[in-house]
Symmetry: C2
Subunit: 228 residues, 2 copies
DNA sequence: ACCTGAACACCGTTCAAGT
DNA sequence: ACCTGAACACCGTTCAAGT
């Protein structure tokens, strides 16, 4: 009586189990075997719900983006004739919520890199950005380019932050020398040969901060939104 | 007589073999066993050269960045008093070369995400950007933020492109329904519910193009470099 | 339709042992 | 120092079989 259609799971239950694993044990633990095991079924049974591990990861992205609040911060009826400044605030707030959402789950970046962002909720996000940029006075084609550039900046920023965070301080260099094949520039990493980098080390140390994220985002918006 | 110090490899030889695997068989083939096998040694012998797979991948990034030409396009003595426009051209050209370098090798994105960009050649790139931005009139702290924002944009752009490229068209959705847990917005992906997205589909189709890359980069530079 | 159990062809990493 | 061979604890995926 062990095999057979005893009970089944909803996709939401499976994805919840997957996110439990992601948060408690990291991205590497989100395996077909791991998720199946935490549900109490065999790995092959999971293939009934998702045809591959990649399909599972894509489902997780959608699950995450479904929780992204797309509304404007001040309420839906507060702005009647939105000026460029208000639209910028809306976009920045949305980008910040996206960043919070993705950095809250360790390894969420791995999810995004597993395939294109073309699920319904990803499109909902894109549509919202298009609305904002057209409301700011951009033409449709320009708004499409602007929305893509903004997503590039936001996701790139999160990607670099997460790459910095799982820094392995002891395994930074090969066993003995320091990158012996650096094309003859500097066999030994000498900070003195990078004067500007060493003088801005205090800024670099804060690269993965909300401040730096917003600063770059505002500069990008300076170029994207014409008037402001 | 099999084991023992018969011959040894240089780090460059090992990395060349790893890049051969990356280009011919993709990122998944760049395994400790795979690289060792193509060199004719056992996996454990590779741990003599690199203490972990991560160290190997970091070595590959440096190997790649060592080939990045950092000089200005027009020659080193052509510009005497570089104006803002010339500096912008230099930065755009550098970003384009970085993009070409990383997109030329399938899966190079996976390398960058494997850890922070802190090797000597990564610092050489950062130093060059700092020089350009300070030459454009930015203060040191602002230049550091600008250099980081530019790298965020460039790497994010390449990341999204590569995510789009290995699109698995048949495994886009779960087995039966289309993302059944999309939080009640739309159970079936209906393009009519995303009017702006559908009207800009022709632009979205060209997102991974040099044009789109440069357009967004120029908008970012509009915000970063004050005068131009 | 949903599930099990066995199997295939892989992983990264460690350990004891050889020269 | 550099290397082998065996082993540990894993992977994604497929296939035949059960209810």
């Amino acid at each position: 009586m062990r095999p057979g259609p005893r009970r089944s799971f909803t996709h939401a239950e499976i994805l919840d189990a997957a996110f439990d694993l992601l948060e408690t044990k990291g991205f590497a633990a989100v395996s077909v075997r791991g998720v199946a095991g935490s549900l109490g079924i065999t790995p092959t049974a999971l293939y009934t719900y998702y045809s591959s591990k990649n399909a599972l990861l894509r489902g997780m992205i959608e699950h995450l983006l479904a929780r992204l609040d797309l509304r404007e911060p001040g309420g839906s009826d507060a702005v009647e004739a939105p000026d460029a400044a208000a639209i910028r605030r809306r976009i920045v707030a949305l980008a910040l919520r996206l960043r919070e959402l993705l950095t809250a789950h360790a390894g969420a970046l791995g999810l995004i890199m597993s395939g294109p962002l073309d699920g319904p909720n990803a499109m909902r996000l894109n549509e919202t950005l298009l609305e904002s940029f057209t409301a700011a006075g951009l033409g449709l084609d320009e708004a499409a380019r602007a929305a893509y550039a903004l997503q590039v900046y936001a996701l790139g920023s999160i990607a670099l932050e997460s790459a910095d965070q799982d820094a392995d301080p002891e395994a930074a260099a090969p066993v003995d020398g320091l990158f012996p094949d650096a094309s003859g520039t500097a066999l030994w990493t000498d900070l003195a040969t990078f004067p500007l980098s060493s003088r801005t080390a205090h800024v670099a140390a804060q690269h993965n901060s909300t401040d730096q994220f917003v600063w770059g985002l505002e500069r990008l918006l300076d170029g994207l939104v014409p008037s402001a």
